[in-house]
Symmetry: C2
Subunit: 327 residues, 2 copies
């Protein structure tokens, strides 16, 4: 029997590439494009109430026949209702933002919905495996938006060692080299957010896309850390101001942050918007079509594996000595 | 002609694994053990004057016939003299801490010494290539000790795309899976610090080694960021106190940090020491002999490449569609 990648099998998709849960940017149109291109598109329900999510699901169903998912943020005041909507609408997959989705897992599973939480530690990953998660997303702190403290290479490594369910790697991934690197650590899928914003199919404002293209790997900063909700954003004047206010006037920083993601994604407001994006902005130099993004990544993944094998072969003599070594 | 790994060829070593530049912990004994095991041992000249380095080099020459290196920190007030010592002593390799070693490169190269600077951006990597560096070390912010802001997976990816000289990956690497991941990104060698401290051959105090073994991936923090010299350390009570003082009393934080690395490495002083270590502490669960560390990494590298090939094969059907895709 032909073996198939477990993430593809689990989700009924062609390429083990899933879209990050993105508030405002995770629209039905973009999610449908990812699903139609063979990945798993994800509607970001972050700012939505039940009725908005219902409408978004109706919309994506007109745009794709392929599997798609919904991301639910556990701190949403509407989380209970949103979970009910995905069950009613028979959404194939739910990803959860960081936190503990235990209270929802059983009823989602009963409804035949795949449950994939984001985890920030190997212990949380083990717990999620125990309560029946189908896979976990290990997301490093180089990712855009709300982040933890551990970087992708360390977190993915630790999580892959801790659980048997498939691990989907996220954070700092925008190309096929990084995909190959994550698979070398033991991941069986990747999640990307920023890379999908820089596409023609993204409804995200042009100003946001332009900022991604022109930013380097050192051009993101973390805002909100002192407020207890650290988020990685592109370093605009606004982001610098927020960081200053976090030292001088926390209250004002908090006030300015409210609604700032919407201002970035929807309005392209460079003076008042939080342009949430990962460090991989520095690896993204071109707006592409979603299909091109996915196919290019798979091609590059292929090339990276090939190059790794060549480099591995160059160490063959050394390896033969290693294999003779007895502890 | 048999092709050989470029880092091994450049440095005359068997495995492309080099020791991080570590003040106090980078002793001749540990460096000799790494060189004798087929890697490249590095004497950390951080706190040394010329006479100390001369003595350390004399010592390592009695302990190994293999190539070794010296790490020089560019902010050292003795940097000029230290460079003169390595030239006089015909040390085979010099690695530099982050910064711009341009003023030393020409005379080191004339003396036949390999020059390998640490870089924190792809632009710095390009500049180092231009001035004749033999390789660069791309070190992510998950590493122990003094750090930048970009994580390993993003930095190594960007640097590998920017230069043609070999790239040595550092930061968060303690095992063969991570080595394979770095090679998938295009690196041709790895550098490790923390993993070599947790060995029998390290002269580092037992308390330090114990802290590494018991710490998890989330147990490091960054101190000194507000003082302009961020360093990753294990989160002890002392580290927490420093972080509080960085908000309340910068002057006192600075005073307490002076000499704190020595107190950790040499004295094992858990109340006043800075236990500099990378996030990979959470992936290190055992004190090993240096030879065992290196051989285990190479074995695991081998296994990781094998597993990656298996996973790659599972995506073969999907790949054939990709290859038919024309942009």
């Amino acid at each position: 029997m032909r073996r198939i990648n477990r993430v593809c099998q689990l989700l009924g998709i062609e390429y083990p590439i899933i879209m990050g849960g993105m508030s405002w940017a995770g629209t039905p149109k973009l999610a449908a494009a990812v699903s139609n291109a063979g990945g798993l598109g994800i509607i970001g329900s972050g700012p939505m109430k039940a009725e908005h999510l219902k409408k978004a699901i109706d919309e994506i169903k007109t745009l794709t026949d392929k599997p798609f998912g919904v991301n639910i943020i556990l701190v949403s005041p509407y989380a209970d209702e949103l979970v009910d909507v995905v069950i009613e609408e028979k959404v194939p997959v739910v990803t959860f933002g960081a936190g503990n989705p235990s209270k929802y897992t059983a009823k989602l599973k009963e409804a035949g919905i795949k449950v994939i939480p984001v985890v920030a530690s190997e212990n949380m990953a083990k717990m999620m495996e125990r309560i029946g998660a189908d896979a976990v997303i290990a997301e490093g702190m180089e990712s855009g938006g709300h982040i933890g403290e551990v970087t992708t290479i360390v977190l993915v490594n630790a999580v892959c060692r801790a659980v048997s369910i498939p691990v989907i790697a996220a954070g700092g991934i925008a190309d096929g080299r990084a995909m190959a690197a994550m698979f070398a650590l033991g991941a069986e899928g990747i999640q990307m957010g920023t890379r999908f914003i820089a596409t023609y199919e993204a409804d995200t404002h042009e100003n946001f896309k332009k900022l991604i293209i022109k930013s380097g790997i050192r051009d993101t900063v973390v805002t909100g850390a002192t407020l207890g909700h650290p988020a990685r954003v592109i370093e605009t004047k606004f982001a610098k101001k927020i960081r200053e206010l976090e030292v001088e006037n926390l209250q004002q920083a908090e006030e300015l942050l409210v609604g700032s993601l919407r201002k970035a994604v929807v309005d392209g407001n460079v003076d008042e918007g939080s342009f949430m994006a990962g460090q991989c902005v520095g690896l993204i130099s071109e707006i592409k079509h979603v299909e091109e993004v996915i196919k290019d990544i798979m091609k590059e993944f292929d090339m990276a594996v090939e190059r790794l094998n060549q480099e591995h072969a160059k160490l063959k003599n050394a390896m033969s000595e290693v294999n003779e070594y007895v502890k």
